[in-house]
């Protein structure tokens, strides 16, 4: 999202500025990779799907950019955009925070769902967005995801869900918890109807989303190095009173322990999903 804006600003600028590396630095066209510490030109990072060209670190994506990378151009038709945040606990400051976020992120909730084509294959695509309250699942997210699952069932389409989530939406209390039951029950119905569900874990996915629909794919993919777990690393460290080893709860760790099918680099994600869809065609 931020990178998008930067790109637009850059495009509008005069060419000569490009020649001056010092000037670029000053107006923030460069970014330091927090993994390899390499200084990268933001446009290069953007053009490389927000993957560090030096070390391959997959930076987090907004739902909008993810959809752009997965859906064929112009095919994504959003569903459930009228399903909005509710405030069941009347939690102080919650709706105000949501309004501010809507303004800032230009999205209405932490997931975007729709029907699209992926290399010409029609599918239901749900993409969570970590910029919106850490992609937490409250009533609206649960309702949108369930609508996506039910749409896939009714239209006999494959279902693809990209998860990124800090877990349940605390501000909605027990209603958030119940979304785990609602979405998982919908997946079960979809299973019994013979639908194909591909779940993709992206960095980071924890808590109630890991403990519901995200772990229930027929095929479970993950982006490299994505943090995936039920309990967050800090909670575990506090419980066991020691530091977790390097790479604990990474996608690679989950692959080794048998909980995901395949780690797929971002550049290969669309093609992999399209292939899988074709292989399940009846």
């Amino acid at each position: 999202m931020i990178i998008d804006k930067v790109k637009k600003v850059n495009e509008a600028e005069e060419k000569p500025v490009r020649n001056s590396r010092a000037a670029d630095m000053m107006i923030g066209k460069w970014v330091k990779c927090d993994n390899c510490k390499e200084i990268i030109y933001k446009d290069d990072l953007h053009d490389n799907l927000s993957v560090c060209p030096n070390c391959g670190k997959h930076f987090r994506l907004s739902a909008r950019r993810r959809i752009k990378q997965i859906a064929d151009e112009g095919t994504f038709e959003e569903i459930g955009e009228d399903i909005l945040t509710k405030d069941p606990l009347k939690f102080d400051g919650y709706m105000k925070k949501v309004e501010t976020l809507k303004e800032k992120t230009k999205i209405q909730e932490a997931v975007k769902c729709g029907i699209c084509e992926i290399e010409g294959e029609k599918a239901v695509l749900a993409v969570m967005d970590g910029n919106f309250l850490m992609g937490s699942m409250g009533g609206a997210v649960g309702e949108r995801i369930t609508l996506a699952i039910e749409t896939a069932m009714d239209e006999k389409l494959p279902l693809i869900i990209f998860s990124v989530s800090g877990g349940a939406r605390m501000q909605e209390g027990i209603i958030s918890l119940m979304q785990m039951a609602k979405t998982s029950a919908a997946i079960e119905k979809f299973n019994q109807a013979g639908g194909l569900y591909i779940s993709v874990f992206t960095d980071p996915t924890t808590g109630g989303v890991t403990a519901s629909f995200a772990s229930l794919g027929d095929i479970i993919l993950a982006e490299p190095k994505a943090l995936i777990g039920f309990a967050g690393p800090r909670v575990i460290e506090q419980t066991i009173r020691q530091k977790l080893p390097e790479g604990f709860q990474s996608a690679e760790f989950l692959l080794e322990h048998g909980f995901i099918d395949k780690i797929v680099e971002r550049k290969d994600m669309k093609e992999t999903i399209a292939k899988l869809i074709r292989m399940h065609k009846r």
Partner: protein
């Protein structure tokens, strides 16, 4: 003390009391001939979830419960009622067994949450909970879930998807502990009392939110003060509901169960 003066925090305290009856107390007093069954057939036997077959009057049922210790020593053995993945996998195995033999399932929820340990993550805590929730939604026998103490987070919901979900009057059910809620949202875990009041976690709150179906009465001060009465109330409820739910066709039962959770938003 009249009901009006009892705060949410009082309920939390009551729900956590060591002397408060635990799953095994209910199982031993409501049912007869309980035969405990062990293990997930995969990794081990988790002592924080117990399960088996028992008679509810003249009906064989499968019972499953999260088990906290009844003493400090037993609490260590029971891991304070915090299950590992093998606990949920044992529960699921017993539920699928119940389905095969057409036995209703009754679960007792009492946990501070699923255990957040390294082993739990290595063995797929998230997957174990997710699968249990998913399978419960389509299990072809009646399921009644009873929150008897602390129902906290996905660790509680993992055995909490049923045709009827009920709570004892002094039990609590929430997304996480009030301490956790306070530390995340107020950045101050000492504000747990305030959190409890705002979280809508009491039986009364959840009935209003239509998350639960019924509240089972308790004597003043908690279930331990007149356990026989509580057992009697709960047993009557279970006998009646098992009878009612068993009359429904499988199709109707499952559709109702789906809609029950589908409409929570």
């Amino acid at each position: 003390m009249s009901n009006k003066q009892i705060t949410a925090w009082d309920r939390v305290t009551c729900a956590r009391q060591l002397e408060r009856p635990k799953s095994l107390d209910y199982i031993e007093n409501i049912f007869t001939d309980f035969i405990e069954l062990h293990g997930d057939r995969c990794f081990g036997d988790d002592k924080s979830i117990i399960g088996g077959i028992a008679m509810l009057e003249n009906v064989p049922v499968t019972v499953i419960g999260e088990q906290k210790g009844r003493s400090a020593r037993e609490n260590i053995e029971r891991n304070f009622g915090m299950p590992n993945p093998e606990g949920y996998r044992k529960a699921l195995r017993l539920m699928e067994q119940a389905e095969k033999f057409h036995r209703p399932v009754i679960t007792f929820i009492d946990t501070p949450g699923a255990y957040p340990g390294m082993g739990a993550e290595e063995r797929g805590q998230g997957e174990a909970i997710a699968k249990s929730i998913m399978k419960m939604s389509s299990l072809k026998v009646p399921i009644i879930c009873v929150v008897i103490g602390e129902g906290s987070s996905g660790g509680a919901l993992a055995i909490g998807v049923g045709d009827k979900v009920v709570m004892l009057e002094n039990s609590v059910y929430s997304i996480l502990s009030p301490e956790g809620f306070a530390s995340i949202l107020y950045k101050d875990s000492s504000k747990a009392k305030d959190a409890a009041e705002n979280m809508k976690m009491t039986a009364e709150d959840l009935k209003k939110l239509k998350v639960i179906d019924e509240i089972i009465k308790e004597p003043e001060g908690g279930a331990q003060n007149n356990f026989e009465d509580v057992v009697d109330n709960l047993k009557k409820y279970l006998v009646k509901e098992v009878k009612e739910l068993s009359k429904k066709s499988t199709e109707k039962l499952l559709e109702n169960r789906y809609q029950k959770f589908r409409k929570i938003y």
